[in-house]
Symmetry: C2
Subunit: 247 residues, 2 copies
């Protein structure tokens, strides 16, 4: 492995920028970490010592790389990053799923991953074209949640559906037939959310139980990460998956 | 009024960047709009004609100002902005409130404003130090929701509380005594959310019914805008305020 380039989707590796995301990467996928970058000013930063201990334990190289860190993160205050090999997640067949159809905003995707992990929905399909889930911006806004989830990108919805034909689809649509409060939840389910600007194609209304989150006419729509949070909370809560502080 | 400066909190005016936010500003507060800026390339952009019609109807000057638009928005693809006088919102005493205590991220504040408007919670107190609610970044991420709400900044929580002593406080805290699903809702309520990194000071636990949003131990906390969305949806829904598409 040569010098570190700015992230590009074509690379077979990516970066987990930030102490917390880098730590999550080391804890969940130590075998995939090629090296860890730290900033020369980060010596006493909270978490840096633990990060270095984890690297020592796993025999992973640590190097000071101030310029590479600012290039990778686009920020001057990024104290650490893990360089890791990309991997392919496998969704669990018997568990419920989140399906993100053509999401374009990296921050939204990261936030949704963090929400899903927090609310116990651990299998995420992302349908292309979409924000690259390995982009450091996604990883950063997910706070490393990415590494604790099963995340997989599919070329189209049909490819996802062919693999998981038994999941009950709940497409979230502005004109969904059933109000979220009245929806009958059956498991395993797949909650499907569309693009930030365009939502889901009309055809999804016929592919499952289309759900509407009630909101006032004063806004066009809720923010995607907000709508996903409300939907996931509602489903996971009703399904009894939010009882306690288990991991 | 002279040339247009980059936004600064000390100015008595601000900018609503983007066609949709500028339109909201014109529809809700036409008397406060000093002028409207449009990009020379925006001639056929959707919404520009309606924007110009509204300006003509309200006798507001429209000018081409490509450079000012990119300076104000920090983007090259900003097609319009309204220049408006700042104003002081008044919260309704008999209605429920959202209280944001020291929020620091402009995007979060904007997203929360949009969520509140969509879910019918129209009175928002923001406690300093905090992101400036008139910052164009907040207005943009609120999609102009800012202009349809009663938003007011307070110097400290006591100043807010002195004005609204009767509101039942529901501070959202990681160790809140009651699970969101089990909370007893009384109106008018004030949902209180803390800073992104630090949450609320411990003292809030004694000031009302502290609420916990159940989530897994795999994350430290939910994103602020996500937690607020779940909290507002739950309260507004249980309170019967999410029946339909009214404004």
């Amino acid at each position: 492995m040569g010098s570190l380039e700015a992230y590009d989707a074509a690379l077979d590796y990516s970066y987990a920028p930030g102490i917390f995301p880098a730590m999550e990467c080391l804890l969940r996928h130590p075998e995939r970490v090629r090296r860890v970058l730290v900033h020369s000013k980060a010596k006493d930063a909270q978490g840096i010592l633990k990060l270095k201990e984890l690297c020592a334990f796993n025999n992973i190289r640590v190097e000071e790389a101030d310029k590479a860190l600012s290039r990778i993160s686009g920020k001057d205050n990024c104290f650490a990053a893990a360089v890791f090999e990309k991997f392919r997640g496998e969704l669990a067949k018997e568990e419920s799923h989140m399906v993100l159809h053509h999401p374009s905003d990296q921050g939204n995707v990261g936030t949704i991953l963090r929400t899903c992990l927090g609310l116990g929905l651990k299998n995420i399909a992302v349908i292309r074209p979409c924000a690259d889930v390995f982009d450091p911006k996604v990883i950063r806004s997910s706070m490393g949640a990415m590494f604790a989830l099963n995340v997989r990108m599919y070329d189209d919805f049909e490819a996802y559906r062919a693999e998981f034909a038994a999941h009950l689809l709940y497409p979230f649509m502005l004109d969904g037939a059933v109000n979220l409060n009245e929806v009958r939840i059956e498991t395993p389910y797949a909650l499907v959310f569309g693009n930030e600007g365009k939502g889901l194609p009309e055809a999804f209304a016929e592919m499952g139980q289309a759900v509407r989150i009630p909101h006032s006419g004063a806004i066009d729509s809720l923010n995607l990460a907000v709508a996903a949070a409300i939907g996931v909370y509602f489903f996971q809560n009703k399904g009894g998956n939010l009882s306690g502080k288990d991991d």
